[in-house]
Symmetry: C2
Subunit: 695 residues, 2 copies
Amino acid sequence: MATASRRRSTSRAWRSASAIPVRPAVPWPPSPGTVTGRIPLTPLGPSVPLDRYRPKAFDGEVVPFRATAFREGHDVIGVHVRLFSPSGDESLHRLTPLHDGLDTWRTEIALCEQGVWRFRFEAFADDVATWRHAADLKIAAGVDTAVMRELGARLFDLATAEKSRPAPERAALTAAARVLRDADADDAAALDVVRDPEIAALFVQRPLTSLMTLEDERELLVERERAGVGAWYEFFPRSEGARRRKDGTVVSGTFRTAAKRLPAVAAMGFDVLYLVPIHPIGTTNRKGRNNTLEALPGDPGSPYAIGAADGGHDAIHPDLGTPDDFRAFLRAAQRNGLEVALDIALQASPDHPWVTEHPEWFTTLPDGTIAYAENPPKKYQDIYPLNFDNDPEGSYAEMLRIIRYWVAQGVRIFRVDNPHTKPLQFWEWLIATVNVDDPEVIFLAEAFTRPRVMQALAQVGFQQSYSYFTWRNTKSELEEFFTSVAHETADYMRPNVFVNTHDILTEYLQFGGRPAYKIRAAIAATAAPTYGVYAGYELYENVARPGSEENIDNEKYEFKVRDWAGAEASGDSLAPYLRRLNEIRRAHPALGQLRNIHVHWSDDDAILVYSKHLQADLSPTGRADTIIVVANVDPHSVRQTTVHLDTRVWGVEPGDPFEVEDLVTGQVWTWTDHDFVRLDAFDEPVHILHVRESR
Amino acid sequence: MATASRRRSTSRAWRSASAIPVRPAVPWPPSPGTVTGRIPLTPLGPSVPLDRYRPKAFDGEVVPFRATAFREGHDVIGVHVRLFSPSGDESLHRLTPLHDGLDTWRTEIALCEQGVWRFRFEAFADDVATWRHAADLKIAAGVDTAVMRELGARLFDLATAEKSRPAPERAALTAAARVLRDADADDAAALDVVRDPEIAALFVQRPLTSLMTLEDERELLVERERAGVGAWYEFFPRSEGARRRKDGTVVSGTFRTAAKRLPAVAAMGFDVLYLVPIHPIGTTNRKGRNNTLEALPGDPGSPYAIGAADGGHDAIHPDLGTPDDFRAFLRAAQRNGLEVALDIALQASPDHPWVTEHPEWFTTLPDGTIAYAENPPKKYQDIYPLNFDNDPEGSYAEMLRIIRYWVAQGVRIFRVDNPHTKPLQFWEWLIATVNVDDPEVIFLAEAFTRPRVMQALAQVGFQQSYSYFTWRNTKSELEEFFTSVAHETADYMRPNVFVNTHDILTEYLQFGGRPAYKIRAAIAATAAPTYGVYAGYELYENVARPGSEENIDNEKYEFKVRDWAGAEASGDSLAPYLRRLNEIRRAHPALGQLRNIHVHWSDDDAILVYSKHLQADLSPTGRADTIIVVANVDPHSVRQTTVHLDTRVWGVEPGDPFEVEDLVTGQVWTWTDHDFVRLDAFDEPVHILHVRESR
């Protein structure tokens, strides 16, 4: 599966606005055996806290490279980052001082080749810039002019002597040095040389460096684009094509009938189709509808109670079809441009073959029984949790075997159920081992737990993570959430922001009416590059099991027979809106980035405003792309207010007009940095605005 | 100088409320080669960001040990820290979960031995605690009682089999196991065993551990107490005993005359006497009074323009006396309980012997001259800065020679002038090299610059740092400042909070009147364990050079003839107040800690409230010590308000009364968690309250 080169069809492994010609770095030699370099230099990112794990990015992601650097006194320094792509492409990029009072330097680079990159920060005394600063002030003040002129001429001599410098540059510098040394040229002429922007630019491209300090080389893993960008759709294959008999019982859908739904999912513009577990379901202590303790005849049971006489995690539920049917389904999905994600729930029903063949993979109690899953004193008697500590070698190998089995069938994405109930060490080992053979394989962590645990799962290797988005509904909550995932944890954690799941129907959706469904989908689809929808969302299914945050008649315990076409025909479907959202996502590369979100101010506490901008140099199209989203997050209201935009984010000076097009309604307005908006939750609660490039 | 053992006259190397008997940690064996341990464990502190430098503490400092730890699922874990003192004393301490939602564990330990400590965090499954939690709920609910009883009995069997467990414990556990297994004992009796606090305590002291995960061993440098605790006093020796002739000229003070001032400084309770540079002063381009460009006859010049025909950094200004006089002065200081700190300013006047002997240690310009210090286009023509890059080996060695020379004379503290204008690498090398021979030597960094640079100086080895305290005057500024230095950077940076210096007379002091002097001294002396005062502060010298933040007639450029005794006799001296502050500091070990500050709320925006508490187990006296400071930071006002105290910090339940004694006035009040205060800036602007222990 692994291929030697994973670079996409682009001429370079990277895109950058700060690239300069590659030259070797000659380190300042004397080192007294200190930790501190001659120019103190501290990498800030990309990195994972404590540097124990490798930071990561996805193919095409714009990654900020940041370091703290300063030197004693006032002389000017420069900072570079040197990159080595997995296939050996070396490049050099110049960092910009942020002048933030914290000596931070930064640049952004889009990384366009999969694999392990290496990077190294380099800091140096920028002798020409130091001279320019002093010479500018002193020659203008008539102080030490002869000395300053000769100092500059000597620096130009050094540059001219560099063989690697292009001949026209050397000629220009020779001429400039001559002016500085020319007794007939007055100080005004010398000052022109000092202030010459072209000469300054030469030294940005090919600086004269001294006291060169090299940081240690670090690694960054670039995974495939789908690890970071994608629209997900979840369904239960047994429900797709299921039909109700006259007696009320339901005939299970199969992979063949479910395949008929693929064109509709593809037409909505989704990239990934995620299937809940497809394995045989246990009958012992099978749960009935609405999680009741006893299943009635015909109740299909929870697909998470995995394993029966028909097999375990490497088997397919006989009602769904055969392994051939599954492979045919995968091919049909592929033809529709959909990639299939499988659900991996590492637990067993009491009927799972492991229970008799490998009781050591469970916890046996003093009475000889196997311990059920429990949250004392509650017990979940349809499920045995695994115990990885009795036989780590054997149990780890079996889990690896299962993943490899499905990889061999053609699956490359796994949604992992409750990973936070298994040892983190296990996941680190499993994901690394699987990715050695096939770096295309993606694991999504379905953990809703404490922040440090969520972060740790991402750090040990999960390519994606479910997130707190589901419960972040107010303007301030959403601002904080997206700022945090974009600017604090993005070096290792990528949220997949699901608007709903088969286990989560939030109060916001229960009580927000149809506007709530639109609002949440529009924000998820535009604020995050990866988002997800569970089937039924487009039908506004909003009735919860009383007292809970999940749907009544949870699909986990029964079949759902839905009338997709009927709903769409009667205008009772969100599908057209989802289709439009996914079209917008595909047309706008700015929405395919996680870290570029910028929150703007509005005067209303329910009007959320953010932009996503991708500058031309970093964009796959070579053109800048800017989207502004203005969302009324109160689904019960009509709101009007003024929004205040930091237009410099997309290169427009405050006060200057620019054109925006609402990509949902097609309306076009001329905006400035202060704009009136009116958002009717019952009509179009969200503006998704494209900033048109001025001509 | 170095001695094998640096432990103070205490029986143990540490004090801790969480120490448990030392037992070996048996690591959980299977490791699949992952970075993640079986129980994910991440050290939080003590540490320096990025772990490049060793964190540090001072002898007797209470150090928080913090880690993030959790495991999959819901089973209970425990976390220990294992300490090895420099002399090999091994101890084990139990961390407490903070239940902060971030899986943080913490304990505090007072470290009482100088040298390099090693520490290691250890996390484990606490199987007894897990069982107790489940057994409590399930036996009470009548679920699985037999199984739960037998599971407990088996754990007790394991504990009983431990040879290292004291016999009475083993007997108690044998008996408890018997009850659990006794068919005649009902579940209520079993539940009594589960809930028995004495049995629980046994397992806190000697837990049954499994899945034991060991972190890497880390180092922590403990320096002598004076590195972190001390009251400093700065004077110019040439001014002490200087006398004005009838013609207005002044006769320089000498070490002999300055020695006469030592008893008064000691009587004020100071610990360290800091002298500005004592070396010969250059005459070329000597600065006159108030930093004028031309010195008049009799102007002594700035002691920072170091070096003349009489010698350089290893010489003594002939006006001050001879090397013998200096040594006699050191002895006299020692007799008065004062330690002398010397000022190290690594720069030269044009007359310094280095200039002719080692021009390579300076920067030579194209015209053959040596470059002056400058901030273009301004020049400082009485000073040549050093250039360490032309001859690092030679220049480094010379600086080391100078420090060693003064160490040989008996100096153990150096205040370093402008360290941020020399390479950080140099300081790391110099301080480490000096401290290898003599770990008693302390360096104070006099840098007022950007935060990352200040922090880096502390990280590379400076034992103390000047700080932004001088410009933090409002309540919110002071709250933020002390919280930051106590809780964010204390693992590597120790502020020495000077209320003034010979170069700093803030607007607050210029315009705050005498109350300002009291307020600043009281806060500095109580909020920070190390603070400093420059001579003249006690005389309320508050006239600035117009437009500047320094005294007019700056002592750097002239002699000061002051009438200390006269001022005190007329009541115009702050000396008695300073004496009282230093008495309070010595009597209250809570004030000898940096990290124990806790800010409390008051309803007035100028009433600053903080407490410093030291619990009995961590205190050198074995008794708890609590000080509450309530300061009116507006020196122009009388303020009254209500303060709201989190009394749990010192173990008093909210609402319970306790007695406080004002250590300045001697008044005693009964306080609770909400108290009225009235602070008259013109009388006593600051309450320094001692919480009396209830009997």
